[in-house]
Amino acid sequence: MAAEPVLPLVEEPGTNRVKSAMVQNIVPILFGLLCLTGVLAAQIPFPFLINEVVTRLARNLFLVLSLIIPVVAGMGLNFGIVIGAMCGQISLIIVENAEWAGIDALLIAALISLPLSLLFGFLTGLLMNQAKGREMITGMILAFFANGIYQLLFLLMAGPLIPLRNEKILLPTGVGLRNTIDLVGTKHQLDELVRVGVPFMGLKLFFPIITFVVIALLCFGLRWYLNTRSGHGLRAVGQDMHVAEIAGIHVNRSRIRAIILSTMLGGIGHVIWLHSIGTMNTYQSHEQVGPYAIAALLVGGATVARATIWHAILGTFLFHTLFIVSPLAGQTLLGSAQIGEYFREFVSYAVIGVTLALHAWKTARA
């Protein structure tokens, strides 16, 4: 995938510069306006809104951040993040089966997910090297495919073949996992480790401090990594594979490394996401995370070829604000919360579609 052409910002005089900044950030600007309209229309109490947004930021940011490395490596949006999410989910199933509880159980879940996502990330990377130029669609179809295997394992084999014995997570027949599993042991463990309540406008605002500390650590970690030798190598591969090859960088190996890292981070991110929700939709949770995390990143102004930590933070904030307000706005504006739901869905698909189209358009013109 070719790199995005760098716009000559310096040469243009003042007004044009504002204009080009507007054009470059058109997606977050439009989305911000949409959110603002939604917030005004929904007429929800402000502290409630803030509480919801903070919860959702803590819940989703890790996942969204895990998408950045493959973008830098020129592999586009990693739809294969779903594979990482599955690994996270499997490790939570193991923890729940053993009925471990507490913050250490959550930590164990995160640790178990790592070797799994290392292996499956490696395989994903191998596959994507076979499909250069169409990594995104390959990742997406791979996620569907893996979902089939996942269902085969946990719907038909869990119990008789896979030694999961806990009746609380198995279906009454003893074969297959339940559709929803209550995460008794790990629910909210990290969020509530240190939870600060601040009184605000008659309500209390809650901040899951440790979750945000973990996210901040990841942000610094990403920044550090992208400035190491290995990180620079990824950047070079992302700019131009042929040049990187000539410069002596192992292109295929770098790309596999990018996908492995993204998958591993995605696994941990999904563990955080699920622990914050508290229940696991055994056969659906992992499927939802991919498109929503990607839409969130894009809403922040990221493109297929460029994504930063700030894009992730801004995008998660905007996307989830819309998530909260759109059913309520639909209710007050059009008399139906369902319309708001479908509108939100339409927007999240359209955002990904339009961003992909814009990117393809730019590369086709360049």
């Binding site: 669609i137 997406m140 038909l156 027949t173 139906s336 339409f346 358009w361």
Partner: protein
């Protein structure tokens, strides 16, 4: 085992594997179950005809060089609109069936034109953009289903009195009209003559079109863009025609599908329909760059037969235990269809 390897090579690896799988299933059905084979085979034919036009709809796009048209839900949504509109006008029978095709196809042509304009701008990423065009079309249509000004109480959500139902029953309109047209009893089932005739007729029409001057130009544009341009073919126009044809056929395809199924599924119904459709074409031996009518016929039959046969066979053999085995065909569909698409995407010669 060399003869088996040779056989698979001759057939092409995807076709070969699925064919072996199907034959295995049939042998299993004969030896290990008491299922009536004739009924099973008749069901396979019905399912083939049901999905056939949708699979056929992919061909013009591949031929014109746009690749696998994952945006087929756009056409499907147009067809649904046609059906819903005529049902709301209380038109029943054949006039409703063909009216829905004409109206849906007409809107599909318009939508296809706009879709083609978009695809022209995103050359190289058509498939990825197509997936999201399809998703957005389904989500956008869902908003329309909720607010559509329908009056027919058979269509409107019983609670609240506004918005269309999730599933509309076609029994009083044109449920299985084509299936039953000239149907030939065959063991415990029947052969859906009308349905198959309509599908094969559509296949024939498309084959004829591809033989015309415009059809050959379209194929040339898809095969080698530069060469076609040099010989005076307007490549953009050909690609547009391919995409429009594909979308129109998608609209007609869902009408056929629904009349055979007996129900119209709105809202999220068509969201993931593109993937099994594409898989069927690939199983028939098509690639990202080449697809023929033969691929459609073989692929639809093989894929749908595997799906149709696996449920009763699996149920008969293992499912004394519980209901969860009902999921096997769904899981098989996920694994087979996406596995096949992955294989096509990662093949070197298709790049």
């Amino acid at each position: 085992m060399t003869w088996a390897v040779d056989l698979i090579k001759g057939l092409g690896i995807t076709r070969g594997i699925i064919l072996l799988f199907l034959v295995g299933l049939w042998i299993l059905a004969t030896l290990a179950t008491s299922l009536p084979l004739t009924g099973l085979f008749a069901d396979c034919l019905i399912r083939t005809g049901m999905n056939g036009v949708l699979v056929l709809a992919l061909v013009p796009a591949v031929r014109a060089g746009v690749g696998l048209n994952f945006g087929i839900p756009l056409g499907i949504v147009c067809g649904l609109f046609g059906m819903v509109t005529l049902m709301d006008m209380n038109i029943r029978g054949y006039s409703s069936l063909f009216g829905a095709m004409v109206l849906g196809g007409g809107i599909g042509a318009l939508a296809g034109f706009l879709y083609a304009r978009l695809l022209e701008r995103v050359k190289g990423q058509e498939m990825m953009v197509g997936i999201y065009v399809g998703f957005a079309a389904v989500a956008g249509a869902s908003i329309y289903w909720l607010v559509a000004p329908v009056k027919n109480p058979e269509l409107v959500w019983p609670l609240g009195g506004a918005g269309l139902r999730n599933t509309l029953v076609l029994a009083d309109y044109y449920s299985q009209y084509l299936d039953k047209l000239g149907a030939i009893p065959f063991g415990t089932g029947y052969i859906p003559t009308g349905l198959l005739a309509f599908w094969l007729g559509m296949c024939g029409l498309l084959a004829l079109f591809l033989k015309t001057k415009m059809g050959t130009a379209l194929t040339a544009a898809g095969a080698n863009e530069r060469f076609a341009e040099a010989s005076g073919i307007n490549v953009t126009r050909m690609r547009t025609i391919g995409v429009i044809l594909s979308t129109v056929l998608g609209a007609i395809g869902i009408v056929i599908y629904s009349q055979s199924y007996g129900f119209v599924q709105l809202y999220k119904g068509p969201l993931l329909m593109a993937f099994p459709t594409v898989a069927a074409l690939l199983i028939g031996g098509a690639t990202v760059r080449n697809a023929t009518i033969t691929h459609v016929i073989i692929g639809t039959f093989l894929f749908q037969s595997v799906l149709t046969t696996s449920l009763p066979v699996v149920n008969e053999i293992v499912a004394k235990g519980g209901s969860e085995f009902g999921n096997i065909p769904e899981i098989a569909r996920l694994i087979i269809s996406n596995g096949i698409i992955l294989y096509a995407l990662t093949r070197k010669e298709s790049a």
